[in-house]
Symmetry: C2
């Protein structure tokens, strides 16, 4: 291999940005700005800029910021999709990430973002359907024993809201008292002192919670 060089592939990052809308897990798409597939909604992504990105994560942050107006959100590397056939332009590497945001975080950011339920995302360009499926599988596979689903909630939430998120992500109903016991056993939450919320259903104001662990420890197994 000494000194040998080979034609280099295209290298991009692509981000499966997931949020909840109307009780459904949705993926955020952006119309592609140019060929191939110009104007067709696709995953948020772009070339690695070797002149300015320190690493792949820096490319993800730059693209989330410039294309979706998002700063400081949770993301994690998913898997790399790399083949001669996935992009009509050339041999192509997509380092894929998935990101989770509360719906509210998208309000002012990107009016051009289109949210589609992951189960009905339609035919996406490249192998983006496969990348979305891998992200959903990762989230569901980890959801049962991680705090990942809580990333879809605002920082402060009720126990019912938390349970609803887990139910949506996992696609199954959970028993409220068993859920509360499991969450308490896991010691993931802390009560937000001095704040309660009056909901329609409950007679007394509802306790509010937030994740105990720092944001950096996002993926602790539970």
């Amino acid at each position: 291999m000494a000194g040998a060089e080979f034609a280099r592939p295209i290298v991009t990052v692509d981000i499966v940005l997931l949020t909840l809308q109307e009780g459904k897990l949705c993926v955020a798409l952006l119309p592609r700005p140019g060929e191939p597939f110009a104007g067709i909604p696709a995953l948020i992504g772009g070339y690695v800029h070797t002149d300015e990105d320190a690493d792949a994560e820096a490319a993800v942050q730059r693209i989330l910021s410039s294309k979706a107006g998002l700063e400081g959100i949770f993301f994690e590397q998913l898997r790399t999709f790399a083949s001669a056939r996935r992009d009509p332009r050339d041999w192509s590497v997509s380092i894929a990430y998935f990101a989770l945001v509360p719906r509210g975080a998208l309000e002012d950011s990107a009016s051009t973002l289109e949210l589609r339920p992951v189960e009905a995302a339609g035919k996406l360009p490249f192998d983006h359907n496969e990348i979305v499926d891998a992200a959903v599988e990762r989230l569901r596979g980890k959801g049962a024993y991680s705090t990942l689903p809580a990333r879809l909630l605002p920082a402060v939430f009720t126990m019912s809201e938390l349970q609803a998120i887990y139910e949506t992500v996992m696609g199954e109903r959970l028993d409220p008292s068993a859920f509360r016991r499991k969450i308490n056993d896991l010691d993931l939450l802390e009560v937000v002192e001095g704040e309660k919320r009056q909901t329609e259903r409950a007679r007394r104001p509802t306790t509010l919670y937030r994740l105990k662990m720092p944001v950096a420890v996002f993926d602790r197994k539970i």
Copy 2:
């Protein structure tokens, strides 16, 4: 992004090839054939050949075959390491994989392979120490609930050999009857009919087992 092009990074695959030697989990290294780090033992890897590799997995197979004489062994994508700083030549992407083989599979293959315990791999070139650590973490994280550790054994093995592999991978002693009960509950193994092995310890010949699932279903959660 329409039509825009950026200087493309180097793209390689690197393989953390793990096996067991003298009861220790070891990584297989090869002296680098050229600069940078010429002659220094490093992970088995190489450039993606865009003119002949259909995808990253094809590159892994080509490199395992040409550099280590290995065909048809188990491997799985680990994570991609991509940054401006990891390779002195240029902005560089390493799509990292890990592979598991029984020690016997390396006998005639690569006499140039050097096996080092993962806990004492020494200082490796690039970020290869970090890649080895990620592979070991993945194996240990999954080991407790997957059939991955059994990939380190020959196709046919005794229950004691299987337990020893799990103990080595997980770094903890396991109770034999609890281990046997768990493995039986999981329904992973089948008895190799008509074959038994006489060991020194046991008075009667010992039952031999093999994995029940096809090789392709290598990573079923248990």
